[in-house]
């Protein structure tokens, strides 16, 4: 019980700290900006890497997201909403990149073995993901890998929640078909 309270207090403190940094960043305080970058960079790069399936491009997108967020900070009404605002920018930038890349043949990055997952299985999954259209793939990744709720996916992708549901349905259906084909090979 006591531990939970301590955790809550530290969470609240962290939130207050972040609001203060955002408020200072509005006045172009570089120390505050640096704190915000340090706090959010891992999550942003991980999300971008999962969406783009390219860890090097992910860093570029994360950097671009921070720049855009700082440049357009005046559009953010509440300091509290910075985290979601930054995340949405990142997802939209990834979507833009996926949209541009869709015509290009997909390249499968070097695959690292993961605990409990063979390299072959991972290659199959990467191949299937690369075969999905970019909007289905992004929806599936945000829901299954990033564990976002339907509302959060809808907000990030700027589409109605019904569209998220139907995209997720189509994405799972296609994934299953491709998975069965890959297993049969």
């Amino acid at each position: 019980m006591v531990d939970t309270d301590i955790f809550r207090i530290s969470k609240a403190e962290q939130a207050h700290e972040e609001w203060a940094w955002v408020a200072r960043s509005r006045n172009q305080d570089e120390t505050a900006m640096s704190h915000l970058v340090g706090r959010h960079r891992s999550r942003l790069i991980r999300t971008a890497a999962n969406l783009l399936r390219d860890r090097y491009e992910a860093e570029d997108v994360a950097q671009e997201s921070f720049l855009k967020a700082f440049r357009e900070l005046h559009r953010l009404r509440e300091d509290k909403a910075f985290s979601g605002y930054l995340y949405r920018i990142c997802v939209r930038l990834c979507m833009d990149r996926l949209r541009l890349k869709r015509a290009e043949p997909a390249e499968i990055e070097e695959v690292q073995p993961h605990e409990g997952l063979s390299v072959e299985t991972k290659v199959v999954i990467e191949k299937i993901l690369s075969q999905l259209p970019y909007d289905l793939r992004a929806t599936l990744v945000l829901r299954e890998m990033e564990q976002l709720s339907y509302d959060e996916v809808a907000e990030c992708m700027h589409v109605p929640i019904g569209t998220v549901r139907s995209r997720l349905h189509s994405a799972r259906e296609r994934f299953r078909k491709l998975w069965l084909e890959a297993i049969a090979e």
Binding site: I45, A49, E59, V124, E144, R176
Partner: protein, 144 residues
Amino acid sequence: MKIFWSRCSRFSYIINAKTEDEMSKSELDFVANHGNECDRCAQYHETDYGINLLRSCQIEPIISNGFNDRVIRLARVSLRKTAFSYWSPALAGATIAGLAVLAVVQLVSKPNQLPVFRATGEARKVHSPMFPTPDSPGHANRVQ
């Protein structure tokens, strides 16, 4: 309400639309029962394994050493550019207005120094008190 042509299409709809924790009790029962009686659907349901594996396929991020510094440096440049492009129309307007005001002040304060056009070759008649001419004012009085 959704109309299904067969139990297989209903099965396919449910497992693609929802994960197990999102299904109602009746849907869970239906999926379990139909999976037992239809081999094709049971095989299809096994692909859940692949979807579940997606969660373990997260890419671990690589963060380069100077990431923070690079972002801050670029943000500084970007914010300066933004500020300049935001204020530049106002600065241009203010400069033009300032120049216009200066020109008006100059014209109003020295009106006599304006250049006067004179056609070339036109003689000017100047009345001088030192050298009076017959048509100078007061010449007749002086002669008398």
